[in-house]
Amino acid sequence: MHNKSLTQLAADLVAKRVSSVELTQHFLNRIEQQEILNAFITVDPGFSLAQAREADQRIQQGDKTALTGIPIAHKDIFCTKGMLTTCGSHILSNFVSPYDATVIDRLNQNGAVILGKTNMDEFAMGSSNETSHYGAVKNPWDHTTVPGGSSGGSAAAVAARIAPAATGTDTGGSIRQPAAFCGVTGFKPSYGQVSRFGMVAFASSLDQGGPIARSAEDAALLLNVIAGFDARDSTSVQRQTPDFVNEIGGDIEGLRIGLPVQFFGEGLDSDVEGIVREALREYEKLGATLIDIDLPNSALCVPCYYVLAPSEASSNLARYDGVRYGYRASGYSDLIDMYMKTRAEGFGDEVKRRIMIGTYALSAGYYDAYYLKAQKLRRLIAQDFAHAFERCDVIMGPTTPTTAFAIGAKTDDPIAMYLNDIYTISVNLAGLPGISIPAGLDNTGKPVGLQIIGQYFDDARVLNVAHRFQMTTDWHQRAPSRVQP
C-alpha cells in the first residue's frame, strides 16, 4: 500500500478497496515502526483519524476530489489549527496556531488528511536537518548520513514510505536538496505560485512552499491543490493556474536544455557528474538537445544569499519576543532583559548566527556595503538566467555537489554547510521554478538528484520535463533497502 502513487491510492479509495481510516492507520503504524528516523516532530493519531473518518464520509457521499482521504505529511513550518507548529525551534515549542496556513486550508477543504508535522532545520535555516531543536533526522538510505535540509523530515518520510507525499518549503534549496539526498522528487514552484500565508517566514522574498513526492506526477497532483491566488498573501500572483496534471505527458521533442558550465566545474563530485551526464543522455534520446550556457555570476550566489536571507530573517524573527505567543524565559529583570533572555534561550546557534549577521548587514554604516551590494548582485544573477533562457527552454545540472554526507560532518563549519546549496540558491534569488528528481545512485548506493530549472511561471513545463524522464527510467521508484515492498 505504501508504495502506491497518489493516483493509485485515490483510485483504491473510490473503489472502496481501502478506507481513508485504514490508509491513515497504515501510515501511522509505519511512522511508529520507523521512529528511529526522527522524521516527525508531531504525530496526533486522534486528529488524523478524525479527519480520515470525515474523508470516508465524503467519499461515501460521492463528494470527493483527487486527494480526499489521502494522508499528507507537512513540514512543521505550516501553521495547523489545533496541532503544534514548532518550526523546529524551542521558541515555538508550545505554539498551537489559531489558524491554518492557506496550504493546509486548501488541503483540508479537499478532504486530505494531516498525517503529522515533519522535522526540519530550525526556522528552515540549515542544509542537514541538524539545527532542529528536536534532533537530527536520519537518511533512510543510510542512517549515518543526513537527509538534507531544511525540509529533511518531509523528504525522509516520503523516501521511507512512511508518508505518501509531503509539503516542504524552499528558501535556498530546502525542498530540492533534501529531495536529492533522499532519492525523491521535490519541486520548488515559481515565487508567488503557492501562498505563503501561515507559512512561518524566514526570508520573505525567497521562501516558497511546494510538494515533496515520489514522482513528478504526484507532485503535480499536490501542486494542483496548493497552488493558486490567495488574497491573504500580497506576493501571491494573480494569474490562471493551469491543471498541472493535465499539462504533463506531452513529448519533449526539440526541447533545448541549457547546461551552465559553472554547474559542472570544481567541487562537483565525479560520481554525481557521471550520473547527471547519463541522465542528460537519456534526455537526448527523448529528442532534446543540449546547449552549453553561461551563468557568470552563479559562484557569487552563496555570498549574496548569506547577506540577503539573514537580513530578511533578522527582521522576520524580531517577532519572537515572548509577549504574544511561544516560549518566554522564566527569570528576567526588566522588559529588555525578558526579550534578550527569551531569545537567547529560545533560538539555537545557527539561528542566532543568522540574526546577528542580518542585524549587522542592515545596521547604520554597513547597509550599502552588504545589503545593497547583495541586492545589486541579485539583479545580475537574475539577468544571467534571463539571458540564458533566450537560448534554451530549461536548464539542467546536479542539485547538489555531492550525495548525502555523514551526520556531524559539517556542523562545525557553517560555510562548508552553506556551500551545499551552490546550485540551488540562484534559483530562489531569481524566483524561478526548480525541481530535483532522482537520477541514479552513487558508488556507495546513495541517491543523486538532477535539477531542472524553468522560466518564471513555466512550472508546468518543468514538471512535464521531469515526468518524461520518469516515464522511461525507474530511479524514482527505487526505495531504500530497509523499506519492505
Partner: protein, 95 residues
C-alpha cells in the same frame, strides 16, 4: 577579524539577544569568517546596477482599505505566555 568584541556586543543588543560574556569571542570569530566569505561579492563591479529586492518587480498588490477580518482576540490570546483582562502582560516599563 572584521568584528571585534565591542561590535559583537552592539549587534547582540540591537538583535535583542543575550550573549554570555564568555561566548562573545567565539561569536566574533564565527561571524567574522562568514563576513569574510561574503566579501567575495566585491569581486563584481555593480556600479550603476539597480538593486533587486524581490522577484516581483511590478510592486506588491494593495488591497482595498476595508475590514475583512473578524475580531479573534480570545483565540489569539489563548497562546500568550501571560495575559490578564484581555491584555498581554510584560514587566513594568514605567515607574
Amino acid at each position: 577579524m572584521i568584528l571585534d568584541h565591542q561590535t559583537v556586543t552592539n549587534i547582540a543588543r540591537l538583535a535583542r539577544l543575550h550573549i554570555d560574556e564568555s561566548d562573545i569571542d567565539r561569536y566574533a570569530s564565527e561571524l567574522s569568517r562568514i563576513l569574510d566569505f561574503v566579501e567575495q561579492m566585491n569581486r563584481v563591479d555593480t556600479e550603476g546596477v539597480t538593486p533587486l529586492a524581490h522577484p516581483q518587480e511590478g510592486g506588491l498588490r494593495v488591497r482595498d482599505d476595508i475590514v475583512t477580518e473578524t475580531n479573534q482576540r480570545e483565540s489569539f490570546q489563548k497562546v500568550a505566555p501571560e495575559k490578564e483582562a484581555g491584555l498581554y502582560l510584560v514587566p513594568k516599563v514605567i515607574e
